[in-house]
Each structure stands twice: as structure tokens, then as C-alpha cells.
């Protein structure tokens, strides 16, 4: 089985197919930067960067007034911290020369030898530095997704330490397994075009671990006030949707047919999932809710992420519908039944949506879309579904266990949770000495 994932999709598929006249296969010859590809991936990196502030508003709108700034601050501080971790050693651990199929080496510490020449293993037509920056934005948003699980009760200092540990011991290895040259999941043939396992299952499972380790908020479930600003949540979801075009279509690492397909199916899945969630709310609660619809949209975007370089528009509709159904079931029934407080449904949306998307890739993938991909269950290759399942289970287990271990370590060292009094007063005032809104002009 071919090694098939994001960088491979570019190297083997799109670039070769569309540019073979200009660069006759000879990857060995001095690689040439393509201006169109470079422009698109630069823009995509900026689009993905915008998703973290977008996520901050999506999450921020859902918490109580007294915790609004804490959510914005956590997301933006993660943007700062992980960016630095990435250039210092994170990128090298993720994409550096392989060590035992498990981790990248330290050869690229401080971006040593990550320069303006392309790296043909990852993206033959764009500067290596552009690839590194594009990947950085993924490394940033992934831990930011987790904060939804422990919103309104995590100590800020503990968050900073936890995020750095998590980026180093969870994100970087998993990114290497799936995307790094030599990574064992990449070699197994698991398909993950833009980060269904690396980003969403990874964040979703640690989110579940965090909800369990930190415990419920005081007053949960019935004593918690409703979301303080749904329009912010809608704004955030819209920014996520916009940024996701860079996330998925940018993962083609080239500006051509593959990017076009990813762009198209991304939009379609989001639309299908938004409609599905609204309909389910309509059936169960008599009214279609705004929060439900935007949650569906995000779940659809999550689910199409691993599939976006491999499925057809019709496949995307089915993946979108599934992304409306399964996370909805998780949020509506499972969370209540198990009584854990995944405050903003980071596990329900990203975990469940990510698992569905990774499995669905094994169902609807087809080589007609991407010759460098593989055929899925519906195209006569049930083995692909099995390969996807293995990658899902391995990632789930690793992220969950490491999540539990790292959170407990930080808890022993410095306590994860704010005091009961601080939780009642709110994190804005107690962690940052600020308030999001003034009462008097």
C-alpha cells in the first residue's frame, strides 16, 4: 500500500499530474518554486491562523459573561506559545528526519535547514518555510480546540504549562506518525488529507480526558447560565468556516484540481451538516436552534477534513449528514447519560465528528478524485476502512491516555483548577484582573 497522506497527496498526485511538462518527474533535480502554489499556501496559512481567533469567539460566546476574556485569552496565548514551541523544536519533532517511525529528529531545531528551498518530501513546489508556517497553524489550533472541554474552571498558569507539554508529547508525535516521512501511520496507508486524526480526534480525545480529570463545573448541569452571546458564537463559526477553506484546500499544498476538490467538498459537507443538525433539533425540540445549526456546520467541517482530498461532492453530502447525526446524538444523549461536563462539546463535536470523518474517508474515498489516494469501502476496497479504523483507534488511545497522564502531572505540580471561590467570581477577574464588559459607559 502506498504511503498516502497530505504531503504524499501533493508529491505523488497533483504536482506531478499538473506540472509534469514543466518539471518532468525529476524530483531529484533542483526543485523549483511554483509561484501559484506558493501564493495559495501562504494565503491558506493566514486563513488557518484566523481560525484560532474564530474559535475563540465561537467558544467565548458560549460561556458566561464572567469567563469571556479567559476563553479569548487562552486561545490567543496558545497561538503565541505554540508558535514559539513550533519554531524552536516542535516542527523538527513533527516533520524532522524520522526516528524509528515514531518521532522526528532534532536536526531541524530552531528551523535549521528549513529555508526558502522546497523540501521535496513534503511539498516540492513551495518553499520549505511556507510548508512549516502552514503546519504551524494546525499545531496552534489543535490544543486551542481542547479548551472547550475545561472552559470556565482551568487555572491560566496550568493551562500554559499543559499546552506546551501536550504540543510536545501528543501533537508532535501524532503529526509525525500520520504526516511525517517515515511515520508508521503514513506507511500503513491511512488517509488523512487535512488533519482528521492529527487535529480533531487528537484534540477531541484529550478534551474528553480533560472533562473527566478536571470534573464538572459547580452547578452543572442545571445551575449553569445559558451562553452569554450567541451572536459571537455565530461570528466565530463563520470565521471557522471561512478559515477551513485554507485548512482543507490549502492541504493540497498546490493551487490546482486537488485544492479545488477539497474546497468544494468542504463547503458541501458544512452545509449538509448544518441542515441536518437544525432538522434534528426541530424534530426533538420543536424548533431549529441557531446554536444547533452552527454546531452542525462545525461538525461537518471537522468530518470532511480527513476526506477532503479523496471524496466526491456527493460523498461529501453523506459525510455531512453523518456529521449532523453522530455528534448530535453524542451531545444530546451520551453526554447527559455519562454526566461528564465537556463544557463546550469539544469531544462531542471534534472527537465524534473526527472519528466519523476518518472512518467515512475509508467508505467514500475514490481514486477517481485523487489517484494518489485509495478506493474506499463503496469503491470496492473494504480494506481501506480497516486501515482507517486502526489509525482512529491508535490515535484515540494515545491522545486519551497521554491527556490523562499530562493533566494529572500538571495537577500534582500546580493544581489544574481554580478555587471554588474563583470559579464563582469568574476567570476574567480572578485570572486576568479584567472584565469583558463594563456596565456603565
Amino acid at each position: 500500500m502506498l504511503a498516502l497522506c497530505l504531503p504524499a497527496a501533493n508529491v505523488l498526485g497533483e504536482s506531478v499530474a499538473t506540472q509534469s511538462q514543466e518539471h518532468p518527474i525529476a524530483a531529484a533535480a533542483a526543485p523549483k518554486v511554483d509561484t501559484g502554489d506558493t501564493a495559495w499556501v501562504l494565503v491558506s496559512a493566514a486563513l488557518v491562523m484566523l481560525m484560532t481567533p474564530g474559535l475563540a469567539f465561537f467558544y467565548g460566546g458560549l460561556v458566561r459573561r464572567k469567563n469571556m476574556l479567559s476563553v479569548l485569552m487562552q486561545c490567543l496565548m496558545i497561538l503565541c506559545l505554540v508558535s514559539l514551541q513550533w519554531v524552536l523544536f516542535g516542527y523538527s519533532l513533527s516533520f524532522g528526519p524520522d526516528k524509528g517511525s515514531l518521532i522526528g529528529g532534532l536536526e531541524w531545531l530552531g528551523l535549521k535547514s528549513v529555508g526558502m528551498e522546497p523540501n521535496t518530501n513534503y511539498a516540492a513546489t513551495i518553499p520549505h518555510q511556507v510548508f512549516m508556517m502552514f503546519q504551524m497553524m494546525f499545531a496552534v489550533i489543535t490544543p486551542a480546540l481542547i479548551i472547550g472541554a475545561f472552559a470556565e474552571r482551568m487555572k491560566f498558569s496550568a493551562l500554559c504549562v499543559f499546552v506546551l507539554l501536550w504540543a510536545t508529547f501528543v501533537y508532535d508525535p501524532v503529526a509525525h506518525w500520520v504526516w511525517g516521512v517515515g511515520g508508521f501511520l503514513r506507511q500503513s496507508g491511512a488517509l488523512d488529507f487535512a488533519g482528521g486524526t492529527v487535529v480533531h480526534i487528537n484534540a477531541g480525545m484529550t478534551a474528553l480526558a480533560a472533562a473527566l480529570v478536571l470534573g464538572r463545573r459547580q452547578g452543572y448541569p442545571n445551575g449553569i447560565s445559558p451562553p452569554h452571546n450567541l451572536p459571537f458564537a455565530v461570528l466565530g463559526a463563520a470565521l471557522l468556516w471561512f478559515g477551513w477553506f485554507g485548512f482543507n484546500a490549502g492541504s493540497a499544498l498546490s493551487a490546482g484540481g486537488l485544492a479545488s476538490n477539497a474546497f468544494t467538498v468542504t463547503h458541501i459537507a458544512a452545509a449538509a451538516a448544518g441542515v441536518t443538525w437544525a432538522l434534528l433539533d426541530w424534530l426533538k425540540h420543536k424548533k431549529p436552534t441557531t446554536l444547533g445549526m452552527i454546531t452542525g456546520v462545525v461538525a461537518g467541517l471537522v468530518a470532511i477534513t480527513p476526506a477532503s482530498g479523496f471524496v466526491t461532492p456527493m460523498g461529501a453530502i453523506w459525510i455531512g449528514i453523518g456529521a449532523g447525526v453522530f455528534p448530535w446524538l453524542a451531545v444530546t444523549y451520551i453526554k447527559g447519560a455519562l454526566n461528564y461536563d465537556d463544557s463546550l462539546d469539544a469531544f462531542g463535536v471534534h472527537g465524534i465528528g473526527g472519528i466519523w470523518g476518518a472512518l467515512a474517508t475509508g467508505i467514500w474515498a475514490c481514486k477517481a478524485v485523487n489517484p494518489a489516494g485509495a478506493d474506499g469501502l463503496l469503491y470496492g476496497n473494504p480494506m481501506q476502512f480497516w486501515v482507517q479504523t486502526k489509525a482512529v483507534v491508535i490515535t484515540m488511545a494515545y491522545s486519551f491516555m497521554l491527556g490523562v497522564i499530562l493533566l494529572n502531572l500538571v495537577d500534582i505540580a500546580m493544581k489544574l483548577r481554580v478555587s471554588e471561590h474563583e470559579e464563582r467570581v469568574g476567570l476574567d477577574l480572578t485570572q486576568h484582573r479584567e472584565g469583558a464588559y463594563t456596565l456603565i459607559d
Binding site: 448541569p221 426533538k284 425540540h285 446554536l291 447527559g336
Partner: protein, 113 residues
């Protein structure tokens, strides 16, 4: 002088203001408040979580009047706010010992209108 407080359903505010204007009662202070009475409102749903026992949104009117306007004011609020359902609200009438207009320093009944 009396100080009249009306707690009403938010959607009845326009109607109450219209009835007050018809009776030439123009001075009123309005605020958004939350509270609870015997009524159960529309339970809000967020990602399938139904809000339970939450406080309901209401509007509070405060009107200071001379004795001659007390019944007119009560009539206006009642006429505008009553739907016949539980949750229409309440009116409280309090004695008001003093009233001062800041600009002129006028006191009592003269200052109120």
C-alpha cells in the same frame, strides 16, 4: 405622591407606553430585569440542554405621580399589559415622601410632573 412599579412581560412594553401616553403620563423609567413568579416561561434549549428553573426576562417600569394620576397610571399599565395568562406581571404602589427636580431645585408635587 406615589411611586408606581410595574413588572410586565417584555412584549407588552409598547402597548403599555401607548396607554400611558394616551393618559398624558409621559415620565417613566424602564429597565430590563430578570425574575420569577408563578409562571413557567418558554424553556430555552442549547445543544439539546433544556434550561430549567431559570429566571425569566421581564421589563420594569417606574413612574412617580401625584395622587390624581395613581388610578390612571394603574389603568394604563393594566390595560396595556394584561393578556389573561399567568405571567402578566404585577403593579406595586408605594408612598413617595419627597421628589426633587435637580435642575431647578423644585420639590414635591411640582417637581414630579
Amino acid at each position: 405622591m406615589k411611586y408606581i412599579i410595574g413588572i410586565i412581560q417584555p412584549d407588552r412594553l409598547d402597548e403599555v407606553l401607548k396607554r400611558l401616553t394616551e393618559r398624558e403620563i409621559h415620565l417613566v423609567t424602564v429597565s430590563n430585569v430578570v425574575g420569577r413568579g408563578r409562571q413557567k416561561g418558554i424553556a430555552e434549549v442549547y445543544r439539546s440542554h433544556k434550561e430549567q428553573g431559570s429566571l425569566l426576562k421581564k421589563v420594569k417600569l417606574e413612574i412617580a405621580v401625584n395622587e390624581a394620576y395613581v388610578e390612571l397610571t394603574v389603568d394604563a399599565i393594566t390595560a396595556g399589559a394584561r393578556t389573561g395568562s399567568i405571567g402578566d406581571g404585577k403593579i406595586f404602589v408605594l408612598d413617595l415622601p419627597e421628589c426633587i427636580r435637580i435642575r431647578t431645585g423644585e420639590r414635591g408635587g411640582e417637581a414630579i410632573g
